[in-house]
C-alpha cells in the first residue's frame, strides 16, 4: 500500500467509525467494510458522499463496485488525490 493510501486509510477508518457508530479500534484495514460497519448499499452510498466531501475528490460508483475492504477503498480514494 502506498504512503498516500496509508494516510487515507487512517482518516477513512476514523470517519467510517464515527459515521456508523463503531469503535475506531474495532475496525481493521482488511475487514470487509459492509460486515464491519453492518451497512447495506444505500448506507455505503452515504459513506461515498462523506469520503468525497472529506477528501475533496469525485469517486464514481463503478470504481468501488468490487471493493470489499477498507484498505481497497483507501487505494481507490488515494488514486484520485
Amino acid at each position: 500500500m502506498s504512503a498516500r493510501a496509508d494516510a487515507v486509510l487512517d482518516r477513512l477508518l476514523a470517519l467510517a467509525a464515527e459515521r456508523f457508530g463503531k469503535a475506531r479500534e474495532a475496525l481493521a484495514p482488511e475487514d470487509d467494510l459492509f460486515d464491519a460497519l453492518e451497512i447495506d448499499s444505500m448506507q455505503a452510498l452515504s459513506l461515498l458522499t462523506a469520503l468525497e466531501e472529506t477528501f475533496e475528490v469525485e469517486i464514481p460508483d463503478y470504481e468501488v463496485q468490487d471493493v470489499r475492504t477498507f484498505a481497497e477503498l483507501a487505494e481507490v480514494v488515494a488514486s484520485r488525490l
Partner: protein, 311 residues
C-alpha cells in the same frame, strides 16, 4: 397514502411518502395525478416537492411492479387486455396497443410475443407518467424539488421536471437504468440534456454512476446546495420569494426559459418500450426483484455483457 399535500401562503407543498423509498409505480402516479390539477388553482403560486423518507427523495420507478407487469400473465393472449386494464386502468388504449403489438409479434414469429405485447401495454402507464411530469414541467407557477439522499432514476426525472433543484449535501443523483438493460423512460434524457448538455447526460447514462450534490451543484444541476436536512426549508423560502413577484411575468419567463422538449420526450418513450420487450431486461429485473440488497443495481462481478446484437 403515497404523498401528502398542503397549501399554505400560496405554496403547494407535496411530500412524497410511499413504499420503501417513494418508488414511482401506479399508486404513486395516481397520487401525483391527484395533486397536478391544483397547480392551476389561482391561490397556488408555487410548488415544492419534498420527501418524508429518511433515505432520500425517490429510488425511481417501481421496478417490482414493472417486473410483475412483464411476467405475471402466463397463458392465453386474451388475458393481455384484462391484465392491461388491471394494471394501467386505461382499458381501451392499453388493450388496443397490446393486442395490435401481439398480432405483429405473432406475424414476425417473435419468440416472446406476449412479452413484447405487454411491453407495449406499459406504454399506457408511461403516457400517464409523462402527462403528469409534463404538467409539472409546464406549470404556470415556479416548481422546486427539495432533494436529499437517493434521487435515482424516475425520482431524478421527477426532480428534473421541476424548475429548480435545492439539494442538501447528502443527495446523490443517478440514472442506473442501463444496468438493467433499459434507458430512462420518464423523460430523464431530454430534460437532463436541456439542463446540462449532452456530454454530461452521456457520462451519467453510460456509467450509471451517481453524482454527489456538491458535484451536481458545480455542474449546474443543483441550483442551491444546503446543509443536511435543510432542503425543504430553503425550498419553501425560495418559493415564498417567488410569490412576491408578478405571476403573469413569472409564467412568461418560465415558458421562455424552459421549453419542453416534446419530440425528444416522445422518442425516449418509444425507445424505452422497444427495449422493454427484450429477454435481457426481464432477466435483469428478475435479478433486481430477487436481490436482498437495498439497491442491487450493480451487475454481479462475473457478469459479462452479451455480444452485440444478442438480446
Amino acid at each position: 397514502m403515497h404523498l401528502t399535500h398542503a397549501i399554505e401562503g400560496g405554496i403547494l407543498t407535496v411530500t412524497l411518502d410511499g413504499g420503501r423509498l417513494n418508488e414511482i409505480g401506479l399508486p404513486m402516479l395516481c397520487a401525483l395525478e391527484g395533486v397536478v390539477p391544483l397547480l392551476s388553482r389561482p391561490d397556488v403560486r408555487a410548488l415544492v416537492i419534498a420527501s418524508a423518507k429518511p433515505g432520500g427523495f425517490s429510488a425511481g420507478a417501481d421496478l417490482r411492479e414493472l417486473h410483475a407487469g412483464l411476467t405475471s400473465v402466463d397463458g392465453a393472449p386474451e388475458a393481455l387486455g384484462a391484465h392491461a386494464r388491471a394494471l394501467f386502468d386505461t382499458p381501451r388504449t392499453a388493450a388496443r396497443a397490446g393486442a395490435s403489438t401481439l398480432r405483429a409479434a405473432l406475424r414476425r414469429r417473435d419468440p416472446h410475443p406476449l412479452r413484447a405485447a405487454k411491453a407495449w401495454g406499459v406504454r399506457a402507464f408511461l403516457d400517464r407518467v409523462h402527462a403528469a411530469f409534463d404538467a409539472i414541467d409546464a406549470a404556470p407557477v415556479p416548481t422546486i424539488a427539495a432533494v436529499h439522499g437517493v434521487c435515482f432514476g424516475g425520482g431524478f426525472e421527477l426532480a428534473l421536471a421541476c424548475d429548480v433543484i435545492v439539494a442538501d449535501k447528502t443527495a446523490r443523483f443517478a440514472f442506473p437504468e442501463l444496468r438493467l438493460g433499459l434507458i430512462p423512460g420518464f423523460g430523464g434524457i431530454p430534460r437532463l440534456e436541456r439542463d446540462l448538455g449532452n456530454s454530461v447526460a452521456r457520462d451519467l447514462l453510460f456509467s450509471g454512476r451517481s453524482l454527489s450534490a456538491k458535484r451536481a451543484h458545480e455542474l449546474g444541476l443543483v441550483a442551491q446546495l444546503v446543509a443536511e436536512g435543510r432542503a425543504p426549508d430553503v425550498a419553501r423560502r425560495l418559493a415564498e420569494q417567488t410569490t412576491r413577484l408578478d405571476p403573469h411575468t413569472l409564467a412568461v419567463a418560465k415558458a421562455f426559459a424552459k421549453p419542453i422538449p416534446r419530440a425528444r420526450l416522445r422518442e425516449e418513450k418509444d425507445r424505452f418500450v422497444e427495449l422493454l420487450g427484450r429477454p435481457a431486461v426481464v432477466e435483469a429485473l428478475t435479478r433486481f426483484v430477487e436481490a436482498e440488497d437495498a439497491m442491487p443495481y450493480l451487475p454481479p462481478k462475473d457478469a459479462r455483457p452479451a455480444p452485440r446484437g444478442v438480446s
